[in-house]
């Protein structure tokens, strides 16, 4: 049911945008162009629906804060929240899913306790404060419940973003069949990343 799927995805993105998702973080000029990419990258798989609307918005907000839209697409632009929804619904075991959702809830509680509002309702300054507190734990072995959720989410966001088709093709310029191996290439400003 590809048509239905794409409509579902489109509707989901519309909902997110209507909810004010991270728009404050995105330069307006890029918005239209990258939302077209998001729809094209939606894929044929039905939306798994493991998450509530609020959880989806939270994940999208954090994803777009980690990898925001700039002169290159942001996480939502390339469909990262939808992919994370699929991973949570179908890749995670029941136990892991329950643990992750509890950690997500702990992130929201952290927002409430430090700034007096749910994460998706925070002003930019307060959101950055919460993000800073969560990100400080990257690489640490001693993590709070909220930090554990953030570390896991950060991995999902980065993996989802950099393995997406637009990023692989247009930004990383992955050549699938190089045809040769050059062992020592001088990097110039024009070199692809």
């Amino acid at each position: 049911m590809p048509t239905t799927t794409k409509l579902d995805r489109r509707a989901a993105i519309h909902t997110l945008l209507k909810g004010g998702l991270a728009l404050s973080l995105m330069p307006g000029f890029a918005e239209t162009a990258w939302s077209a990419i998001a729809i094209a990258d939606a894929g044929d798989r039905p939306a798994p629906g493991a998450l509530t609307s609020e959880q989806t918005q939270m994940i999208a907000l954090i994803a777009d804060t980690i990898l925001p839209r700039s002169d290159t697409p942001g996480a939502t632009d390339v469909g990262v929240p939808g992919w994370i929804d699929l991973v949570i619904a179908e890749y995670f075991s029941e136990a892991r899913r329950a643990a992750f959702l509890a950690e997500l809830s702990a992130i929201d509680q952290l927002a409430v306790s430090t700034s007096g509002a749910s994460l998706i309702g925070l002003k930019h300054h307060d959101l950055m404060k919460v993000m800073s507190s969560l990100d400080a734990a990257t690489g640490s072995k001693s993590l709070t419940l909220a930090q554990r959720g953030y570390v896991q989410l950060k991995e999902l966001v980065i993996h989802g973003y950099f393995t997406s088709k637009p990023v692989q093709q247009d930004l990383l310029k992955v050549v699938i069949v190089p045809g040769r191996f050059d062992a020592d290439v001088r990097i110039t400003p024009a070199s692809p990343t």
């Binding site: 990258d41 894929g43 798989r45 804060t65 980690i66 990898l67 925001p68 700039s70 290159t72 942001g74 992919w83 699929l86 991973v87 179908e90 890749y91 995670f92 075991s93 993000m131 990100d135 400080a136 990257t138 690489g139 950060k154 991995e155 980065i158 993996h159 989802g160 950099f162 393995t163 997406s164 088709k165 692989q168 930004l171 990383l172 992955v174 050549v175 699938i176 069949v177 190089p178 045809g179 040769r180 191996f181 050059d182 062992a183 020592d184 290439v185 001088r186 990097i187 070199s191 990343t193």
Partner: protein, 562 residues
Amino acid sequence: MKEQFTFDAVVVGSGITGGWAAKELTQAGLRTLVLEAGGPIDPAKDYVEHVQPYEVPFRAWGDRRLLKKQQPIQTDCYACDEIGHKLFVNDVENPYTHADGAPFSWFRGRQVGGRSITWGRQVYRWSDLDFEANAKDGHGNDWPIRYKDIAPWYSHVERFIGVSGAREGLAQLPDGEFMSPMPMTAVERNARERILKGFNGERVMTIGRAAILTEDHNGRAACHYCGPCERGCITHSYFSSIGSTLPAANATGKMTLRPHSVAAELTYDAKRGRIRGVRVIDANTLKETEYKARVVFLCASAIESVRLLLNSKSAHFPEGLGNSSGTLGRYVMDHHYGSGASGTMSGFEDRTTFGRRPNGIYIARFRNVSTQHPGFLRGYGMQGGSSRKDWHRGISMPGYGADFKKSLLNLGSWTLGAAGWGETLPHADNRVTIDPHVKDKWGVPAARMNVRWRENERAMQSDMMTSMAEMLEAAGCSEIAQHPLDHPPGHCIHEMGGARMSVTPTQGVLNAWNQAWDVQNLFITDGACMASSACQNPSITYMALTARACDHAVSQMKRNEL
């Protein structure tokens, strides 16, 4: 066409050694049946090396529900992921067990081509340091052959399959018939020179010797450097039986290849003291058929071949076919591997690479070559490589926001690292038996493993880390980190032993020609035949032993001795 039931030769298995047996026997004029338990492969449809992560739902992580249900063991292998998992067996249909406290990883591929489709492609000759090791330190039995016996057969194999590599003139790692080597990166070249200097030429880092073509060869195209060889290669640029030996066998018109054929038992003719044939269960219809032949080659992989022998009991061989020595199923080995070190190399920030080289660097064995290490016997080689960090580093890196994203779109620092592949001592009680309570989908009793690492392997693993860290320091690396890794036996996919070669019939199952001491028309040429493991990747030694055994069998048949 009416099905044929009698052949000159039957080969059980169509992978690395089965393909070689098929080629050599058919080219010698023998009508040869090749039995493969799995189904056929169509490279055009089944090879997936160019599938990209965004083309599969979980971006190559795998459909956990499906994989954990059907392939919970196989998915522990790096190559059995969302893209390549169809080249590995279904664990539910192919069970095995292990002793308490002795986990064993058995990664298998049941399809035409077997594991030659997914293998690691690293090929290193053994030397007399390896063939003499058992005799010198008393662990295991003496090999009935030496390097001079197998050297021409290494050449024979290398010339056919195509091996890229650099000649180094090392006695412990003999050079072969190499085509041009894949190049080392600037970081690797620098490290090689500094390590040579730092260790007075004792530690030699060379480019991996790989069964991957750097030039067109025998109708196969040179590598196109796409990267993930373990998912297949549509241009057959690395050696696999399906792309090389089986087509050569087929071209003779003498080969009959029968997929979906589960070998359940070798039938024994007690009056003549010979194998009569192979009892086969059709994997789809479950119909049983006996295929007869003058000579049988077991090439089903070490554990499968031993399992088949243990399941082939008779009044004459109540403990398994060819087991008069009592050694069948014993002295099972694998390589213990993975412990090593890595570091950061500065000074090359303006350099990168283009293409994905499906090969790395190799550091030839340097322990117990000229002097005896106080902590352990035998030795290890090291495998690794250099690369620039990519976006994956962001997962463990602090940061978020536009600048963070921009940094991940650019290359990170150079890393250089390697891990050891170590020799395992042969122990009689590292063994495979038959589990009396478990059968596979086709009713064939399953293997039960009881293999453990011992003190010598543990001591070697520790040394792998410290010696690699020393080399990285000599190479000029910073941020050097040691990595302990403790995979269970089997995880290296270098299962060896169980039906070892020996000088006398009381010491082993096979003679110097891979021929069963007890039954002259049975040859076993896969990893089961190995009397020690050395530290080199073993497949090319199996291939050379197979070609050598075929030559011997054909000679004996011509003289009517078989």
